[in-house]
């Protein structure tokens, strides 16, 4: 997030898209709901489902799946045409405006309506509302990123925010909500194939030299590595021989599960380190038991870049150990000593090689976390990014054209499927599934369908239905719901029985490598 969570209560307009906020980030949704209910903020929700937060919105724009670039360009078309953009900001702090203007020229509200299904009038009103706000915040989540055009979608939202001068100010910003507790931290800490900690590029010779010196090694690779979505196919072809998986369960979360399983079975050697014997761990050659969050010291970085403490409350069961200790033990046995007294010693090393974490110490974040960048021990942290300038100097507008999703409906597969989460479960359910009460509230997979479609298919609540895509077939229980819009069904991806990802499409965004979980074509039939 460019801004903080608390900042949302200072926005005049909040635009939420691709985030089912009340279910996936419930506590953030309270900030937004309070902003609307008590602070007079106006809410715009753009989402293919009539999600709960839409009930708080002035405008709920129902977009067709995968049509985000089109409606965002459409809004910018209106804003430019009606001269509502922030000229001062555009002149002083951005470049590429002319190209953007040329690109959005054709995205008239009428043209956008054809693509997105959003009525031209509503789009225009929403665009005006966003542009005329003193401070407007954009909030998004996987509904934006999990598309083949995910990177384009994100850049388009940044375009919109820059166009209206909504970056670097209180109550503004472009605010991605991270799904998992420490996605932010995993990225910050070099858990990515192309960067060391703090996004220092692996093909930057200086960064390589610095790391070699800090780690006392030579010959670090300066070639960007493989993304997870590339590793599995390479396992299939035999180029990838071994995987060491720490705390992840790609066998439920991967798109096109059938294929993922086969790929993993091709490996010569698989090590899985986890707190449970997950679906993925069951395929491993060696399983290493690790400690969970309540059993260890450390830090997580939340979605607003706030580095916060994790503390040990109880002992890990049996022989289970901290993940870092296990990895260090393997390193030692491979001839490289990685000795740390404790997690705090690791944080000291992180701070020494990572400019944005340089000022973070356990002592400083003992009571309240600090937002990185925090470059020095006396730096207060950076709640709002880009207040004076962008890291690259001027903010660059990207002229982006709309491309349709990888799969569309046809005679054989006439319905759209989109996937997501529910309030009561988390990810692949390995943790939430252990709480009986959560299972009671959300016992199993379901397919959410509109009243109209249910009637057309002769389906009733609780009926068992077969859903097939070009990749697989599952059965699931019907849930007739006002959240669904006819023509599109929704299935949560948490469940291994009735797994949504047997159906989803593994087509990837070419830049981020994120699969298009949010759109595929399916057909429904009442199960015999």
């Amino acid at each position: 997030m460019t801004n903080t969570i608390g900042d949302m209560e200072k926005a005049d307009v909040i635009l939420i898209t691709g985030s089912n906020t009340t279910e996936n980030h419930p506590v953030i949704s309270t900030y937004i709901k309070r902003a609307v209910k008590f602070k007079g903020a106006k809410l715009i929700v753009v989402d293919p489902r009539r999600i709960k937060i839409a009930g708080f919105a002035r405008h709920w724009l129902r977009s067709n799946l995968g049509s985000d670039v089109a409606w965002i360009n459409g809004m910018m078309h209106v804003i430019i045409k009606e001269n509502l953009y922030d000229k001062e900001f555009v002149n002083a702090r951005t470049e590429g405006f002319e190209q953007l203007k040329a690109m959005v020229e054709k995205f008239t509200p009428e043209y956008v309506e054809e693509i997105t299904g959003i009525p031209a009038q509503k789009l225009t009103e929403a665009a005006r509302m966003y542009a005329q706000a003193k401070a407007a915040s954009i909030v998004y989540c996987m509904g934006i990123t999990q598309h083949i055009s995910g990177t384009d979608n994100v850049k388009s939202l940044a375009n919109l925010a820059m166009l209206c001068g909504n970056l670097g100010i209180e109550g503004g910003g472009v605010n991605p909500l991270r799904g998992q507790n420490n996605v932010q931290g995993a990225c910050d800490m070099g858990g990515l194939p192309n960067v060391f900690t703090g996004y220092q590029s692996v093909n930057n010779a200086d960064a390589v030299k610095k790391m070699e010196a800090a780690w006392g090694v030579s010959g670090l690779s300066d070639k960007p590595g493989l993304k997870v979505t590339e590793m599995l196919p390479m396992a299939h072809t035999g180029e990838m021989k071994a995987l060491y998986i720490i705390g992840e369960n790609p066998l439920v979360s991967d798109p096109d599960l059938n294929h993922a399983k086969k790929s993993i079975e091709h490996l010569d050697f698989l090590v899985v380190q986890d707190i449970f014997l997950t679906e993925t761990a069951q395929l491993a050659d060696v399983v290493l038991p690790s400690a969970c969050f309540a059993e260890k010291e450390g830090t997580f970085s939340n979605t607003e870049r706030r580095v916060q403490r994790v503390r040990k409350a109880v002992d890990a069961p049996g022989q289970a150990m901290d993940d870092w200790r296990i990895t260090c033990e393997i390193a030692k046995r491979m001839g490289y000593a990685m000795d740390y007294a404790d997690a705090e010693a690791i944080m000291k090393e992180i701070a020494s090689v990572t400019p944005s974490y340089a000022g973070i110490t356990y002592e400083r974040i003992d009571y309240e976390g600090i937002h990185w960048p925090c470059p020095a021990a006396d730096h207060p942290g950076t709640p709002i990014l880009h207040t004076a300038q962008f890291p690259i100097g001027k903010g660059k507008f990207h002229a982006i054209d709309y491309i349709p999703p990888a799969e569309s409906t046809d005679k054989e597969y006439p319905m759209y499927l989109t996937t997501g989460r529910v309030l009561y479960h988390y990810h692949t359910k390995t943790m939430t599934g252990k709480t009986e009460g959560l299972n009671e509230r959300s016992p199993g997979s379901f397919v959410e369908i509109s009243f109209k479609d249910a009637t057309a298919y002769g389906l009733r609540d609780g009926d068992t239905v077969e859903i097939a895509s070009r990749r697989g077939t599952i059965t699931s229980a019907v849930k007739v719901s006002g959240m669904a819009v006819s023509g599109t069904v929704f299935i949560p991806f948490h469940f291994i029985e009735g797994a949504a990802n047997m159906l989803t499409n593994a087509a990837l965004d070419p830049v981020s490598g994120i699969p298009e979980y949010k759109v595929c074509a399916v057909r429904l039939a009442k199960a015999a």
Binding site: D254, I330, I350, L438, G513
Partner: protein, 377 residues
């Protein structure tokens, strides 16, 4: 000094900023004023009247939570009239329902009869489930009141325990309305409100349905703010007493909000979770996963030993055996096919320190940049 913004409380002068309530000024200066209905994150309602104080020149006692501090106001917080008013409020609260914490003193037989009756209702022989952790009980001791002054009134509503998380015990509800504000003004879930009237007042969900059939999303904000034993976590009720627990502060391990939690630990086990008040990002609020989804920590399905697969079956191994095997295998593959034939998936679930170590291991030991995590999935 700007005499405009001075207020006198118990004989001492204090400054205030316009808009501050008497209560806020008092608390800021460590002058205790008791409250029950007051909820920091919402607008004051003045519902319970326990926070009354005497203000010179005012015709009656003033609810300090709602009254703004005024220039040259002279306030007294514990005069006989104030104490008497508070005692009355407490006596009325204690006389209604099952407050069997022994604040309800009475002659021996009467007490025993009452206690047994409540035990039957509660299906336990323990005292009130929040004994020692109750703001009403605390005040009853502080002001030394009993429930004798008024005849006991019955509460006509049955206890509700049909959902997995929250027990609603109307017999202990004092109708302060904190939960209603927590639900409507803090979480904005709009699930509960005041229903019925007068002595029949009840906190209702929708048209007096069970929580599980209402808009309730089991965030538990109402439980956290309930000052008495009317709303209690189902699994902790009677089993978890505050003096048996140690509290450890940490960060939620579910979504990216990173809510600050207290883990309540009893005999080496996490038995309850509550939100940490007064700090970002959540200021005490949590969601159902963070508050109630902690059973996995002590699940019997947790992995406890390293496992090695032999002939398609796992067997337990020692750390040395497992680690040596992993190191040897990865070493061999690296030797034979190069580091780029190995991949590491680190995790959006583990700590920064652990991600850093995985990153260092991959690049410095395996000599590849094949490291990623599944957050895009």
């Amino acid at each position: 000094m700007d005499t405009q913004n001075l207020i006198v409380i118990n004989g001492n002068e204090f400054t205030f900023t316009p808009g501050e309530t008497i209560l806020q000024v008092a608390r800021r200066n460590s002058i205790p004023i008791p409250t029950l209905c007051h909820l920091k994150k919402a607008n004051p309602t003045g519902q319970c009247r326990i926070c009354v104080v005497e203000v010179e020149g005012a015709r009656s006692l003033v609810a300090s939570c709602a009254a703004p501090a005024g220039p040259n106001m002279v306030v007294r917080t514990e005069t006989p009239a104030v104490v008497e008013a508070r005692r009355l409020v407490l006596q009325l609260m204690l006389s209604s329902g099952n407050h069997n914490c022994a604040a309800r003193v009475s002659d021996d037989n009467e007490w025993s009869r009452f206690q047994l009756e409540v035990n039957r209702y509660d299906k336990t022989d323990a005292l009130c489930p929040v004994w020692g952790d109750c703001e009403l009980q605390h005040l009853a001791y502080q002001y030394q009141v009993s429930a004798e002054r008024f005849p006991k009134t019955e509460v006509p509503y049955e206890m509700e325990d049909v959902n997995p998380f929250i027990v609603r015990d109307f017999s202990r509800c004092i109708k302060c309305g904190r939960c209603v504000q927590a639900c409507n003004d803090v979480q904005v879930n709009n699930a509960i409100s005041f229903g019925y009237r007068g002595t029949d007042t009840k906190i209702v969900a929708a048209e007096d349905k069970a929580l599980k059939d209402s808009d309730c999303v089991f965030c538990g904000e109402c439980v956290q703010v309930c000052p008495v034993g009317a709303l209690v976590e189902k699994n902790a009720r009677y089993d978890v007493r505050p003096w048996e627990c140690e509290k450890v502060r940490t960060t939620c391990s579910y979504c990216g909000v990173g809510c600050q939690l207290w883990l309540h630990v009893k005999e080496g086990k996490v038995v309850k979770v509550s939100g940490v008040e007064d700090v970002a990002p959540n200021y005490g609020s949590l969601c159902v996963k963070g508050r109630f989804g902690f059973d996995f920590i002590h699940s019997p399905e947790r992995l406890t030993d390293p496992l090695i697969k032999e002939n398609g079956k796992f067997r337990k191994a020692t750390w040395d055996e497992a680690l040596n095997l992993v190191a040897r295998k990865l070493g061999d593959i690296k030797e034979k096919n190069g580091g780029d034939s190995i991949g590491v998936l680190t995790s959006a679930r583990v700590s920064n320190e652990e991600n850093y170590i995985a990153n260092k291991f991959t690049r410095a030991v395996l000599k590849t940049n094949n490291i990623d995590h599944c957050a895009r999935l």
